[in-house]
Symmetry: C2
Subunit: 241 residues, 2 copies
C-alpha cells in the first residue's frame, strides 16, 4: 500500500517525523482498562476505557469551536470521568481517587514496537510528538515509558486541538522546514487527512488492537498516504533507518 | 555561597530544572567568533561576536514592548547581523552567506561540563531548556551538540521573551508542578531575578569566559540564589545526582 508520492522526490528531504501518541505510540485501551479494573468498580475496565475515550473527540471539538476558552487535556479527561462515573452510578470515589485514576493516562505502556522504532527513526530524523495531550501529561509519559522524543509538541503548544490546521503547519514552522519535509505518523486517518491538507507527508500505522482485544477498530487507511506500516519498526525499515 | 532557602524544605520536592542556554549551556562567544574569523572579514571575530550579542537585549525588549509583533530569534539575529555588517562597511556578503553565518548560532559547542552535568541531572529531574532562542534553533543545536533535554521550551512556546514572567510561570504550568518545584539555572542574575519573582528556585552558574578570553564578564551572583555552582557537574553534585 506504499505509494511513492511526489513528496518523496521533492527537492528538500524529509526531516521531521511528528507522531500522534494515543493509539499510535502507546496502548491507551489496555492501560486504562487495567487501571479501572484495579479499582474493582461495578463496570468492567474494557467497557469503561472505551466509553472514556469516546467522549474525547466531542469535547475537543467544543474547545476548538470556542466559547469555553482553553481547557487542558488532563482537565477534560477529569470532567469526562466525572460524567462517566455518574452515568454508571458510581459515587464512592474520592477526588483523590479520581485524580489517581485520571493519571493512568500518563502511565500508558508503549506498543511493543514503539521504543525500538522511535530509536531507529531518531538516528535519521527529528522525532516529536504532536498530540492533543497536554505537555505535562506527555512529559510524564515520556519519562516513565522511555519515549526518546527530540522534543514534545502538543496542542497546548499551539493553543488549539487537532485536527485544526494550526498544529500541522505549526510543526513545520517551529522546526523551520517546509511542510512536505514533515511526515505525520498516526493510526488515525482523520489525523493524516488534516496533515495532508497542510502539505505534510503521512504515514499510517496499523493498530488493530487500539480498541482492545474485543473492540473493532473501524479506522481504514487511505491509499494516498505516503507510507503504510504495520509498526514503527516497519516504518523505520521502510525509511531506511 | 549556597543557601538552604525555604524552597529546599517545602513539602513538594524539586522536580524540574529549566536552563538558560546561551552562555549557560553553550559557549556562544567562541563559536560565533570562529565562524566570523572563518569568513576573513575586515573585523576580528572576538569583537564581532561581542557586538552581535550586545544587540540582543534591546531587540528583545522592543518585541516584548509590543508594536512590531512577534519576531523569531533567528530573524532578529539576521536583522542585527545586517546592521552590524553595514556598520563595519562590509557589503560583499551574499544573502546565502549571511544566512550561513547566522546559522552559527545553531552550531555552538556546549561548555566542557555541560553534557555530563545535564546527563547526571536528567536522572533525577526533568530537564528542559528555557531560552529566548526559537524552537528550530534549539532543536538543531540540541541534535548537533547532543544536549539531552527532556523537552525544549522557548520564548516561542509562550509568545514572549525573557525576562517576561509568563515564561517562568509557564514552565511550572506546562510541567504541572508548583513554581518552587522548578529551578531556573542560568549564568545571568537578571534571568534568575525574574525567575525568583515568579517563585522559582534559582541556580547561578559561574561562566567567567562567557564573553571570550579577553572579555570581562560583569555578571555577579546574588547570595539569595538557591544554589551557586561553578559548572553543571558541580550543580549535579550539589543536588545529589
Amino acid at each position: 500500500m506504499n505509494t511513492d508520492s511526489q513528496a518523496d522526490t521533492a527537492a528538500e528531504p524529509l526531516k521531521v517525523l511528528a507522531f500522534d501518541v494515543f493509539g499510535t505510540v502507546v496502548d491507551w485501551h489496555s492501560g486504562i482498562a487495567r487501571a479501572v479494573d484495579a479499582l474493582g468498580l461495578a463496570v468492567d475496565g474494557d467497557t469503561f476505557a472505551s466509553e472514556w475515550r469516546a467522549g474525547y473527540k466531542p469535547a475537543l471539538a467544543r474547545i476548538n469551536a470556542g466559547g469555553q476558552g482553553w481547557t487542558r487535556f488532563d482537565d477534560l479527561h477529569l470532567q469526562m470521568l466525572d460524567e462517566l462515573l455518574a452515568r454508571h452510578g458510581i459515587t464512592h470515589l474520592t477526588d483523590e481517587q479520581k485524580r489517581e485514576l485520571n493519571s493512568a493516562w500518563e502511565q500508558l505502556d508503549p506498543w511493543p514496537d514503539a521504543i525500538e522504532g522511535l530509536t531507529r527513526l531518531k538516528e535519521s530524523y527529528t522525532i516529536c510528538s504532536l498530540s492533543n495531550g497536554n505537555l505535562s501529561l506527555l512529559f510524564k509519559m515520556a519519562q516513565r515509558a522511555g519515549l526518546p522524543w527530540d522534543t514534545i509538541l502538543s496542542a497546548e503548544t499551539f493553543g488549539v486541538y487537532k485536527p485544526d490546521p494550526k498544529l500541522y503547519s505549526g510543526v513545520a514552522r517551529v522546526c523551520d522546514v517546509q511542510p512536505h519535509q514533515v511526515m505525520m505518523v498516526a493510526a488515525h486517518q482523520d489525523d493524516l487527512d488534516a496533515a495532508r491538507g497542510c502539505g505534510l507527508q503521512t504515514a499510517y500505522i496499523e493498530r488493530p488492537r487500539e480498541f482492545g482485544p474485543n473492540g473493532l477498530n473501524p479506522d481504514r487507511p487511505d491509499p494516498a498516504n505516503t507510507r503504510f506500516a504495520t509498526s514503527l519498526i516497519d516504518l523505520a525499515t521502510q525509511l531506511g533507518c
